[in-house]
Symmetry: C2
Subunit: 183 residues, 2 copies
DNA sequence: CCGGGCAACTTGTCAATGACTAGATCGCGG
DNA sequence: CCGCGATCTAGTCATTGACAAGTTGCCCGG
């Protein structure tokens, strides 16, 4: 393996983000260090700084990416004719499959909440959720109820509090959501 | 103010816990340092260590205290004849009034999840919640639904995601929970 | 083709943190 | 009155995030 790394990494930004996802999935958002990520990726300890300014900047980028991903998922299930329960299931699926992103997204004390890219993505995701309950009676309240239910389910599931249930998370949340929003 | 502090603090453990609550309320769990707490309380930088072993130990104590408080709150509303909606409201009230405790409690990567005192308190709180839905049809599912709803509401509220709503959190969650569990 | 400019990356440094060790101080039981 | 253990202090070490300054190599204008 004489492959001497070139001076320029190629796509360090992406590599660091991926390493961060991996590290957060393993040790939680608290256990991530800029220097550790640099080591994982194989660059010097200050390499990532150039792309993210500081630790909060890294997590801001992660959160923004997460909101964008979530908005996309919700958008596709909505345009595929999915109803509110489908949307909720998509929300939970996202939270489980992208746990690292999800955990950072709802920890505003870790990142810069006023970042433009982040704000845009977050609003987009919020709109997708709101659309799903637009045709329900009292949409304001229904929106709060739906979001609370699926968000609570997702966070509880990810912290392991619900894992005694033997069902798959998506099936379980469908059963639960069907109770709140009968067809 | 010639009150020279005595060598022995009196109740350093409690003082550090209180300082931690204050610090977490201000800056979130990430922004808390053992040394910072020691300074706030006015002891040397290694003082707290004696009582909590390490940082995770501190947060373990905080989490255990939180679960105990929550179990007490739920217990009193239940024995006062409260129904499932009252229990949910109590859950949210706890989360809002004891935000610092609540945030640590559901961040298992920050503390020692196998601490005996913590396990006991957590189980007690869980039992109090489960009791509230015992008389509902399909209690297993109802328990998941109720917990998800109020937990999601509480975390979303605390992160500010729901704060556009002009209602008080407790009243709002009552309206939402009443939808899931009609009287 | 080539030279300068600029982004990407490195090396070095600093203050602060968590964890550890050894030692000082105090209070309580015998 | 003594000593012994719990409580707290002081000192140290590796590590971290942030910053400053230097290096490397790509790309664009001439």
């Amino acid at each position: 393996m004489t492959t001497q790394r070139p001076y320029h990494h190629g796509d360090l930004r992406r590599a660091v983000l991926d390493a961060a996802v991996e590290a957060i999935t393993e040790h939680g958002p608290a256990g991530v260090g800029l220097r550790d990520l640099a080591r994982r990726v194989g660059v010097s300890h200050a390499g990532p700084v150039h792309h993210f300014k500081d630790k909060a900047g890294l997590l801001t980028a992660l959160a923004a990416e997460g909101f964008a991903l979530l908005a996309d998922e919700l958008g596709t299930t909505a345009s595929a004719g999915g109803d509110i329960v489908d949307l909720g299931a998509a929300y939970v699926r996202f939270a489980v499959e992208h746990r690292a992103h999800f955990e950072v997204m709802f920890r505003p004390d870790l990142y810069h909440g006023d970042d433009p890219a982040l704000v845009e993505a977050r609003d987009r995701a919020g709109a997708a959720l709101a659309d799903g309950v637009a045709d329900r009676p009292d949409p304001e309240l229904a929106s709060v109820a739906a979001w609370s239910l699926v968000h609570g389910f997702a966070t509880l599931w990810n912290t392991g509090a619900l894992s005694r249930a033997d069902r798959e998370p998506e099936a379980l949340v469908r059963a639960v959501a069907g109770r709140l929003f009968p067809a």
